[in-house]
Amino acid sequence: MDTQAILRAYRRYARVYDLLFGAIFHPGREFIIRSLGARSGERILEVGVGTGLSLPLYPEHVKVTGIDISKHMLDIARKRVERMALQQVEGVMEMDAQNMSFRDSSFDKVVAMYVVSVVPDPIALIDEIRRVCKPGGDIYIVNHFRARNPLLAMAESLLSPISKLVGFRPDLDLDRFLEESGLDLVETHNVNLFGYWKLLRCRNREAVAFNPSEPAEQSP
């Protein structure tokens, strides 16, 4: 699944997104933000902020930054921030979640709801999230992972090619994801849709330092 396909899907969905997905995902968003337990002044990053549906849910004493790859979604988010005068929102920005433009260890907490399955490389995404999150910081992921029930799992595998059309990969395996991402799982909760979506709370054991794939020119 490439970024262009994702962008095309989101351009199609931007205007109707809140109507289509708002109600389905809302309980998950409320649950996760309630459970953040953010202290005053803490800096929080929401990866895949989309139309900013969750932004009004953050308490006023934190500082939230939202990023997304879709300009069309972010326009709606920005208008929402203005209209509701959301003091807790520092800004929304257009970024590639796999290659963010934040300093290492910029955030106390990072929230990624419903994004792991829609990026081209979930592990690269997690590496990047760990880089911008402070060591010891909390990483919250809401995602669907492959069903444990073998019959359901088979059905999901069959559906996987369709994901190209709707921009979603349904067959991510939780254990494998945790192992490959090196995330320290603290707890899991089932959220909404009868537990189809899982909330993972992870601790950022150690920050991952920026490691350019192409060596940058070094000044002598």
Binding site: R43, K63, T65, K71, L74, D75, R78, E90, G91, V92, M93, E94, M95, D96, N99, M100, S101, F102, R103, D104, S106, F107, F210, P212, A216
Partner: protein, 59 residues
């Protein structure tokens, strides 16, 4: 553009510092000679959307 936010923003390519040019609505990476646009108050931190600085352009 919030000053505090500028403290944590870097170039997506080299993760080096950015210079905020308010009048041009751009965030400039001197090392990569790229200017990232701020459109409708939304910084666009993507290499493919950035403007290459001209050879004589000094920041």
């Amino acid at each position: 553009m919030d000053k505090k936010l500028l403290e944590i923003l870097v170039c997506p390519l080299c993760k080096g510092p950015l210079v905020y040019l308010k009048e041009r609505a751009e965030l400039v990476c001197k090392a990569d000679r790229l200017a990232y646009p701020i459109r409708d108050d939304i910084p666009v931190m993507l290499e493919e959307e950035a403007r290459q600085l001209g050879p004589d352009e000094e920041i």
